[in-house]
């Protein structure tokens, strides 16, 4: 067995948490070769080499690989794919964009959002917004997987893997990057935070998110939102937790003024402890909450911040 793992790299460098969690999953199979691809990638590769379980880091540097555009990144992975039994990546928006394209060109199925690796060919993944867990056995020669990072712990960083630079083949040019608009967030990143404080439509305005942020600051938590809050324009899309947003599994998830629709629960049901604060005692969120408090978030949240 040999595993090729696509490291999650952004313009600001290696996304250590997502990559290290995917390594934890992949190293259950065998040692991992980590591919760092981008426009300027040497620093990210140096950091990637520290991740335990990584036997080798491959650097592929080319202007066409900046911003992880799907077509050139896919062509690069295919040029390196021979000999690998598994091609793996953390299930980020970049990997979800790229890996199905890789799989199709290898004429294999992709296995999305793996939450458990049972063996080299058998994997578990959630379906129906997390309401069922499917165990699938792949009959394909190469297994292409994305890993749901929230269910794996990040690997430690005590390694010093070899770093090797590869020649980048001629890459297709069908798409042009124009710009990124990245939300500047002060606190921890949503999908790796130990504590998440989320609000729903009941928050009422962008300004009112101030009380959520204040509580989040106190707890060193990331701020999340339900789709209703995002659609109403109270929070940026990027904060959305759920089937179509981010999937989180923190130690503590505080849902403030969130009713608990199926699609929202899909994104946070794996949290260790769930706290629900809602005025409606019949809200479905109370069925999954470990601790529920029936009350107005505008009373409860500031009190909570004060008492912590």
């Amino acid at each position: 067995m040999s595993i090729l793992l696509l490291a999650e790299v952004t313009e600001s460098g290696l996304a250590v948490d997502a990559t290290a969690r995917a390594v934890t999953a992949a190293r259950q199979l065998d040692e991992v070769t980590l591919l760092c691809a981008g426009g300027s990638i040497v620093d990210a590769a140096a950091q990637a080499a520290k991740i335990d379980g990584v036997s080798k880091v491959i650097i592929a540097e080319d202007a066409a690989l900046a911003h992880r555009m799907a077509e050139p990144t896919t062509a690069l992975i295919l040029s390196l794919a021979e000999g690998y039994t598994h091609i793996v990546a953390p299930a980020t928006s970049d990997a979800k964009n790229i890996l199905p394209r890789v799989a199709a060109l290898l004429d294999v199925m992709v296995i999305s959002d793996v939450i458990q690796i049972d063996s080299a060919d058998t994997f578990q993944r959630p379906i129906y917004a997390g309401n069922a867990i499917q165990t699938v056995k792949s009959t394909d020669a190469v297994k292409v997987l994305t890993i749901r990072t929230s269910v794996f712990e990040p690997a430690d960083m005590n390694n010093a893997a070899a770093i090797e630079t590869v020649d980048v083949p001629a890459l297709p040019n069908m798409s042009t990057w124009i710009e990124d608009k990245v939300e500047a967030s002060k606190g921890p990143e949503l999908s790796s935070a130990k504590v998440v404080v989320s609000a729903g439509r009941a928050i009422g305005s962008t300004e009112n998110f101030g009380i959520i942020s204040a509580l989040a600051n106190k707890l060193d938590a990331a701020v999340g939102a339900s789709r209703a809050a995002v659609d109403a324009g109270y929070a940026p899309n990027d904060w959305q937790v759920g089937q179509t947003g981010k999937v989180v599994a923190p130690n503590l998830y505080l849902a403030c003024g969130i009713s608990g629709a199926i699609q929202h629960l899909a994104g946070m049901k794996g949290s260790k402890v769930i706290v629900a604060i809602n005025t409606d005692p019949d809200a479905p969120i109370f069925q999954v909450a470990d601790y529920g408090l029936v009350g107005d978030l505008f009373d409860v949240v500031p009190q909570l911040t004060e008492q912590l």
Binding site: A104, M174, L219, G292, L304
Partner: protein, 255 residues
């Protein structure tokens, strides 16, 4: 320019899926089925492009069981011009994998020669998020996934797409023809009016089979079992903020 929109018939998004006790799958017998919500957004976007004069015809395609006719009729009632149904399964419990769907769509596209394909970003049943990317790969076309805005520049054969990525938004230009997969934020799909539902019954719907198109739909992933997710233990209702803080500190030990 002709636009092709693949649509999938899935369990209605408001229905909580029930896992069959024998572990063979999710029970879909007598469950309300609907058009996949992301596909509805894709249909809406295609119609808006036609209304702006940027598209000449909208063809909707569904792959699966015969009953998928109903989601095609929904799309026709919204404003699509004609429909193609590719029958590839005889039981509603048989979900055709994205790779096979992509291969079938590729055949349909070779016949229809659309200038753009707009698809949903994922189906809410298998949650794969793969078909659009796979189709784009098989065709050798460009792709723009998780799109929240789409502007067509017919003169230069490009589309400018804003994509929802982790951390924010990314804008890219893709060469046409291209595959665009849409995110929730793209638009608010319209409701079909009663007269349009009546009219949709007379719009053309062509039926084919996967075999006609020469595509093998044998799954690559065999499903060993489908299980309920682990149930959470029943929680408690606390009466005050101070009680909550006390429980989180001393009982749950998370703060």
């Amino acid at each position: 320019m002709k636009i092709l929109v693949p649509v999938k018939r899935v369990i209605d998004y408001n229905v909580k899926a029930r896992v069959k006790s024998d572990g063979s799958g999710v029970d879909l017998a007598n469950v309300k089925m609907s058009i996949n919500p992301f596909d509805e957004i894709a249909v809406e976007e295609a119609i808006r492009l036609k209304e702006k004069g940027q598209a000449s015809e909208i063809v909707v395609v569904s792959i699966g069981v015969k009953q998928a006719q109903d989601v095609l009729r929904t799309a026709l009632a919204m404003g699509a011009d004609r429909a193609i149904l590719v029958i590839a399964a005889d039981d509603v419990h048989q979900d055709i994998e994205p790779l096979a769907v992509a291969k079938i769509l590729k055949k349909v596209i070779e016949d229809e020669a659309p200038g753009l394909v707009i698809a949903g970003k994922q189906a809410i049943d298998n949650d794969m998020n793969a078909t659009g990317q796979m189709l784009s790969a098989l065709l050798g076309w460009s792709q723009a996934t998780f799109a929240s805005t789409l502007d067509i520049d017919n003169d230069n054969d490009i589309a400018r797409v804003t994509r929802e990525i982790d951390g924010g938004l990314q804008t890219i230009d893709v060469k046409l023809p291209s595959i665009v997969t849409v995110d929730l934020r793209m638009n608010e799909p319209r409701f079909a009016s009663l007269p349009n539902i009546m009219k949709a019954k007379r719009k053309p719907m062509e039926e084919k089979t996967a075999a006609d198109l020469g595509v093998d739909v044998t799954p690559r992933l065999s499903i060993i079992t489908t299980a309920e997710p682990p149930a959470r233990e029943a929680g408690i209702i606390v009466n005050s903020v101070s009680e909550l803080v006390e429980k989180l500190k001393n009982e749950a030990e998370v703060i």
